[in-house]
Symmetry: C3
Subunit: 128 residues, 3 copies
Amino acid sequence: MKVFQREHSLRTKGGLACVYSPHTTCCVRVNEFETGFLEDFVRMLRRIVPSEKYYAHDDWDRRTENVCPEDVEFANGHSHCMAMLLGPAGESIPVRDGELCLGTWQRVLFMELDRSRERRWIVQVVGD
Amino acid sequence: MKVFQREHSLRTKGGLACVYSPHTTCCVRVNEFETGFLEDFVRMLRRIVPSEKYYAHDDWDRRTENVCPEDVEFANGHSHCMAMLLGPAGESIPVRDGELCLGTWQRVLFMELDRSRERRWIVQVVGD
Amino acid sequence: MKVFQREHSLRTKGGLACVYSPHTTCCVRVNEFETGFLEDFVRMLRRIVPSEKYYAHDDWDRRTENVCPEDVEFANGHSHCMAMLLGPAGESIPVRDGELCLGTWQRVLFMELDRSRERRWIVQVVGD
């Protein structure tokens, strides 16, 4: 898992900003950016969704759908399960006076739940 | 649990589409539509939130609120817990050029966490 | 954990309402407001994310970031983990005819996952 943050300046004064991951094994969440907590979070996630269990998604004796070379090489059934458990692919945050209404300790976190690689995210803002 | 998908054409060019379940034991999530993964997901969810545990929601010696005949007949305390754990009732997805910004493997999944029955969902789009 | 509900009247006729918590150990979710279910939910959450485990976020022999007196006095590593697991800080709900499109049993729940204290939430509405 990889966690990082970015700053964004907005032209919209009031509305909603949706920070969204178009990847099925990534996740955007808002919480504190503190090394200890992120370590705790990874430990918790691995405890609840262990990668060593059997995943039909990674069983090439059975799987016939959405076959792509990457999945054959790197099993990631647990990453999909983690992403579903954590919630939506994106997070919608209120915008006021052209700024995200983040609380004192809140940061937007982009999480990779599979192996590290090139990823992108989408920021879509609606409002005035 | 039941998972299916539907296609939607949008009149909004740019904005946000919220696909929303008005039911307390259903959930909308975005992830891959692959039989093996959905099997893994059901197995994980049942392991984390077992239906055999005690649920006060299903204890008719105690329950006095929101009494409805359906709940008396079919215990669904675990389904509510699953829905809360999985996250919001809906999922907001960026819209650009009149299309949902879904990644290659992303599909919108509507999940029934209780017994199978007639259900509906709401698609609300904001933007220009 | 504390759960309560509030009613809101909206000036927007059609759109999306985002009910949002600016706190990192709170969470907004939509589900049934029934005492038994909320008891079940608290029990489940404590079972999945036990407060007695080791949390690096609460380890003052190691922690150097985001130091605030409150955290030193009251350990809340488990509260952050609960919040991340439950999903986004807010919930976006469709608005039609000036009202939230809540289903029969749906209510907006604001949850405190840390100790009880003064909290606030933001309701941001976009649309016409």
